[in-house]
């Protein structure tokens, strides 16, 4: 399954599940929950960290964290 880590800048996706981790509650808190639409806004050099747009705000996360978020790519 693809994750946010696999997305290119500008691609949109729907969050399916978030893999368990020590910071699962923190990820949920920031809005990374099932059904939310995300869009990669920009990336730092080496593609890490990544800034995504969700619910009208920008959230930055490291690739490691992004790879925990399983998504379904939306065709644009």
């Amino acid at each position: 399954m693809s994750t946010i880590d696999d997305l290119h800048i500008g691609e949109k996706a729907i969050v399916l599940t978030v893999s368990p981790s020590a910071i699962c509650s923190k990820m949920a808190e920031m809005g990374l929950v099932e059904g939310v639409e995300v869009c990669v806004a920009f990336k730092a050099p080496f593609g890490d960290p990544i800034a995504i747009e969700l619910n009208g705000t920008l959230l930055s996360l490291r690739r490691k964290e992004a790879s925990l978020v399983n998504i379904r790519l939306l065709q644009t």
Binding site: P20, A28, E29, G31, F42, P45, F46, E53, T57
Partner: protein
Amino acid sequence: MKVALFGNPNTGKSSLFNHLTGLKQHVGNFPGVTVEKKIGLLKFGDINHSIIDFPGVYSIYPSSEDEQVVYDVINNPEHKDYPDVACVVLDSSNLSRNLLLLSQLYDLKIPLVAVLNMWDLVDKRNILVDVEKLGIVFPGVEFIQTNARVGFGKERLLSALFNSTSATVYCPTKDNYIPAVLDDKVAQEEDIKFRYTWINERISQIVRSKPNVDDRTKKLDRLLTHPIIGYFIFLSILFLVFQFIFSFAVVPMDFIDLKFSQFSNWVGMNMPAGLLTDLVSQGIIPGIGGVVVFIPQIALLFFFLAILEETGYLSRVVFIMDRLMRPFGLNGKSVVPLMSSVACAIPGVMATRTIADWKERLITILVSPLMSCSARIPVFTLLISLSIPQKQVAGIFNLQGLVLMALYLLGIVSALLVSIILNRLITRKSAGFLLLELPSYKNPRWTNVLLNVWEKVRIFSWDAGKVILVISVLLWALASFGPGDNMEKAASNCQSTQDFARLSQQDQEQLIASKKLENSYIGIMGKGLEPVIKPLGYDWKIGISLITSFAAREVFVGSLATIYAVHDESADNLRLIDRMKREKKLDGTPVYSLASGSSLMVFYVFAMQCMATLAVVKRETNSWKWPLIQILFMGIMAYSAALLTFLTLS
């Protein structure tokens, strides 16, 4: 009544707090922890109420020490800070995430007033929020539209807070809600997911427009987070800020320096001679002066940092720096503490609280004092003009200026190298993460900026001030007393020499002072230290100054002035430099040569000569273990690097 202010970060919560209290606020501590508690006075009618500004959180579940305060208070109605009514600040342009915290607090049956803040953005960005519908979803909660940045809505908010009739209808998201325990992350996740589902079922009726990031933020981010231009802009900002600080802080600093030494002289002459006068004029006044002199620099640096933070730029700095800092065991969030440490390590160490991971935070704390702080500047300036020749390099560069820059770079590079080593040595596994909101860009609000500066200056003056003051009094005692009557004997010995009578009165007094110091306890300590520091090229006089600069590094300069019996009120220490240049060893070679001068400078880059920072590190790490480790490794680095420098150059 006790009012609590809760809300997500970046919702304008602090602006609202400042606005409500009209600057009638003070800072305390939450019981048992070092997290700062901002308490304000809130006057409604004739009654005074207190309002506490809690740290910004996205939910009640904490991921740092600061955030845990919220969890501790709301879960314990017996807590001394448990509120009678809570004011929840919401960002009107981003309700779905903001409602998460509201729903948790609502379920805990804390009487609530919700503030729809930044209401102006709602109109500007064509966001359609149905306030009436919000009241239906959360019955019993009053929703007030405000814009804290321009101060509209204050009266309505106050009357809602204090005239609220107890809610008749109450419709919780979860009945008999009991928050998950701190360690059960899975249960916490479940709670949050449940609430988001609940919110998402209702949000489309509340917010009738598609949320999106505003255009200005998008445009600015294209530049400021650009893989090349972004770093270039960051470096330029850094350069400008420090250029500005160094060129402008000098004026008030020289002024303060001059005024304090004049005042201490005045006291010494006009108060009845005796121990008490000496204590005041030589211990207490210079001690306070040593704190006050740094305020201009610290205030300026935090003024710029506060502006960068207010605009939202600082979180972009975290974003572009995170990947670069990670190999060193640091975090993007370490950049701000390290930058602050260039002014003073104390606010720098305290700024590490935003780093959630303990290991990343600890490393940042441990290396912060390696950044060259403002107290090192007087030491560096003195030693550079003493041992580095004034000449041009490659036509345009001034050698002395280059050396100063090299010393700063040495501090930065060693901070990074030490981080790598500490990262290997501290075996605890890092669970570092960077889930950071990048807020939309805003114009800075000047009240917030100035309050922020005031807070940092207050922390510095108090935290550093009390330690520096105590140590300078202690050092004064060590320098004023000696075993038996050695000091008096030395003084009368030098008075009986033939040359003495030919000196001017001022020179006579200074010579006596210098002889007395040599035979005081501190003089004895300096001489005892000599065998240890001789390999570095130092004599016992420098030894005394090394000891005294434990109060604060810049005391080094004042101590040398006393030792060499130079009375110098000029800001550039010309007489002192002249005197030190003439200082010879027994074999006739100068004491302050290129080798020994450079070795001293290198020593000051590394040595942990700041008791105030140690005290703050102890407080922030809750044990003496880390400050002791810090003083040890920095001491070893200082000694070996200084030795290496001396051997290479001589």
